[in-house]
Symmetry: C2
Subunit: 466 residues, 2 copies
């Protein structure tokens, strides 16, 4: 397509694209936006190497003028985006990008790939975290990412661990993710560790010798209650003599509700009331919630496949759509009409705001960029499909959601530390009504269009029909 624009002499056509998604994944009521840092670093470093240009040359599809354009390619556009960790909803522009058609076309797939992936995994991690908490945002059970071996290749494991941390995970077993992003690394031993020693007890002792202050023992290699827990208690008593304690045990198979309760009883009887019980074994948010409802004595959850691949919903369907084109220094709104009404885009260069009532997110409003942001006066919102559904809000705080990240190719945004993003994401979740956070059949958050935008859309839809 870039070559097509080049041949049509339209490289420098100024345009606006929106990146947004249409449907919340996994039956969730929202998405936790993530992947901005990766997208921004990509844009700021995007170049074509000589080797890449040589490859394109030998395809015999492109002329030399075009390859010359690629050789000097730099991203010179302007990006507005919401912060990583923001709770977002369908149709809201997550990134709004202005610039040369040539550049904005090139970056489409990479931006979508990064944002779709990280936002999906952050959202999935939030679902796990919400499921693990008997009382919302109470301390609840910690979730650890154990997904490396089942991730869809290396980047998915590393950026997936990052996104999972944003979404509420406490740690990862992926040391590379620890190295790149400073995520706390946690792990225990595998069954192969236990097997590789003459006996389970010797295996436990050897692990204790390596990590005396962080001894977590895998107790299900032979038999949890007849062998694993008694041997763990033996090692725990030995640790006691050194003035230390047994940090935890991990159960990775069998009935986790029954086994955890029995193990808790025996640990408590032996005086190990502070020793944590960690559960793993193909866990997902449904199983976590069910185990909690059954009174399982589980303090922390190791989650693998279901988290790192978002197993039941492994793709977020984010899209990247043209919304406006500059003609004589004016933005001309563009629309995509479709047989499928859900796929009709919102035209024009846009911004969006969130209304808070009593510090809870009440509704979001997408509006044209030139419209003034409501500032205290009563606002009447209406559903963009069923327009008779209206509500008026009066005592609200309003917040503009898009902020400048890159302006004319220059970074104007300081990328926050990962730990800050995670804290912000938690704050965001606290601002969302609990009905919207429900894991099944959540309340649908209001995302409305301003009257001006709605009217523009109707007009363009009409004129696009033939």
């Amino acid at each position: 397509m870039m070559y097509g624009y080049y041949k049509a002499g339209r490289l420098d056509q100024e345009v606006v694209f929106d990146l947004f998604y249409r449907v919340n994944p996994c039956g969730n009521g929202f998405v936790v936006f993530a992947g901005l840092e990766q997208a921004v670093l990509y844009l700021m470093t995007l170049r074509f190497t000589e080797e890449e240009i040589a490859y394109l040359r030998q395809t015999n599809l492109f002329d030399e003028g075009f390859l010359g354009e690629l050789a000097q390619f730099r991203f010179t556009g302007t990006v507005h985006a919401v912060s990583e960790g923001t709770v977002v909803f369908p149709y809201e522009p997550l990134l709004r990008i202005e610039g040369r058609l040539f550049e904005l076309q090139l970056i489409e797939s990479a931006l979508l790939c990064f944002v779709n992936h990280q936002s999906l995994i952050a959202t999935k991690a939030t679902r796990m975290k919400l499921a693990a908490q008997t009382i919302l945002f109470d301390d609840g059970g910690a979730i650890s990412d154990f997904g490396l071996r089942r991730a869809q290749n290396r980047d998915a494991s590393i950026f997936g661990a990052r996104a999972a941390f944003i979404g509420g995970c406490s740690s990862t077993s992926n040391v590379a993710a620890g190295f790149y992003f400073g995520i706390p690394v946690a792990g225990t031993q595998a069954h192969s560790w236990i097997q590789s020693f003459p006996s389970e007890l010797e295996a436990f002792r050897a692990y204790r010798d390596a990590y005396p202050d962080q001894t977590v023992l895998l107790v299900d290699t032979y038999n949890v209650l007849r062998s694993g827990v008694p041997n763990a208690i033996t090692v725990g008593l030995e640790l006691r003599k050194e003035g230390r304690d047994l940090l935890g045990i991990r159960i990775d198979s069998g009935d986790l509700a029954y086994l955890s309760k029995e193990a808790r009883k025996r640990l408590d009887e032996a005086g190990f009331t502070e020793t944590k019980i960690i559960a793993s074994d193909d866990l997902d948010e449904d199983t976590i919630r069910d185990l909690i409802l059954q009174g399982a004595a589980i303090d922390a959850w190791g989650v693998g496949t279901a988290l790192i691949t978002a197993k039941d919903c492994p793709a977020l369907g984010g899209v990247y759509k043209l919304s406006a084109e500059k003609v004589d220094a004016r933005y001309i709104p563009k629309i995509k009409v479709s047989e499928n009404p859900q796929k009709v885009t919102n035209p024009g260069k846009k911004k969006w705001v969130r209304f808070y009532v009593n510090e809870r997110a009440n509704a979001d409003l997408i509006m044209l960029d030139e419209e003034p942001v409501p500032a205290g006066e009563a606002v009447t919102l209406f559903d963009p499909i069923h327009t008779y559904k209206q509500k008026t809000i009066t005592h609200y705080r309003v917040r503009e959601m898009l902020q400048p990240i890159i302006v004319n190719g220059q970074m104007v945004y300081e990328l926050p530390e990962l730990i800050e993003i995670r804290a912000y994401a938690e704050k965001e979740l606290r601002s969302i009504p609990s009905e919207t956070l429900r894991l099944k059949n959540p309340h649908v958050h209001h995302v409305d269009l301003s009257r001006e935008l709605w009217q523009l859309k109707q007009k363009l839809v009409q004129s696009a029909r033939m």
Copy 2:
């Protein structure tokens, strides 16, 4: 765990690990093995950088002796594996790795990540390809990977495109995968291309001007039959005047069965009988098969999310298990017993063979490495669980499946070209009975254990029970 082995003085313990999986993904009857090249290149280049060691040092978990071991880390083990593109079944060792416990423990997660991911996507692509073919292995419809924007980050898009090509895809829209692996790159324009021109016809003409010999036009931006197809025919007639032809049209929404048949009729009426119709829009193997059964006039299929994420089954559950330990120059078989009988491992250093009868794969046999391979004499195979189920085969060809890849840290295997791997995978599929290739409820291929291995396993299970 590496640190634990170091502290226990067991770094140099010689061991054997098997990499295998237990359950075919996606309801399929087999897996197409892929990811070996990535695994091998990883092993041959694995090093700890100074920066990585500094990171590990500041965790305060490890002593300097251990960090010194890491600094000089090289993979010195021996790897046997099946070739990429081989059709494999549950419990068969796909890689068998011998070497120092220290090294073999480190590589577990990366090997699993690469092999699980690529084997999964190759298998999914094969399902698409089988669905698209009205007659098995007839030319059938081409499948193109359109998944980049929905891939689970960058590696998943690139190695996923590679695996999809092995599994039978004809091309990818991912130019980076073309660059790295020489996969044919194919694409058309997006809706945003059409939108960015004043009219659909002008957009079509501009695309034709860029790719006069490869003009494929997206016809569903406004209305397939009233606008897209008539405009495509107009451009096709213009191409005709230059002595060229219209290569194809793409339909990305609406009822693909109805629209493709109507579009075919109109293209044929206008003399464009050679113009291909390409379909896309959230396709998977079920939809492809249904559309073919409904007589859709579709020549090629662009598949995105369902392929690149293996949407309904996004992880292959490959595992990596200790099978033997060397003591005084002898391999002592090891077993993992589990509450779940499916999780009990096959002990010992093993190899496996495939029996062909009339050039079709008839059964596979896993055996101990020291056992002689059957060579013409009648062989009686029995089901390892329901041992009364037996069969005797006589006129067979036998093939040893594991071959040496790395010996004592040195590559002894020439990595085949990707195009060779793809051709081999197709040959492999032709050797599998069609009942086993069925997409739903396939015949279960026999994977049996030799009597010697079976008896060893029974003995070790008994002695492991307490």
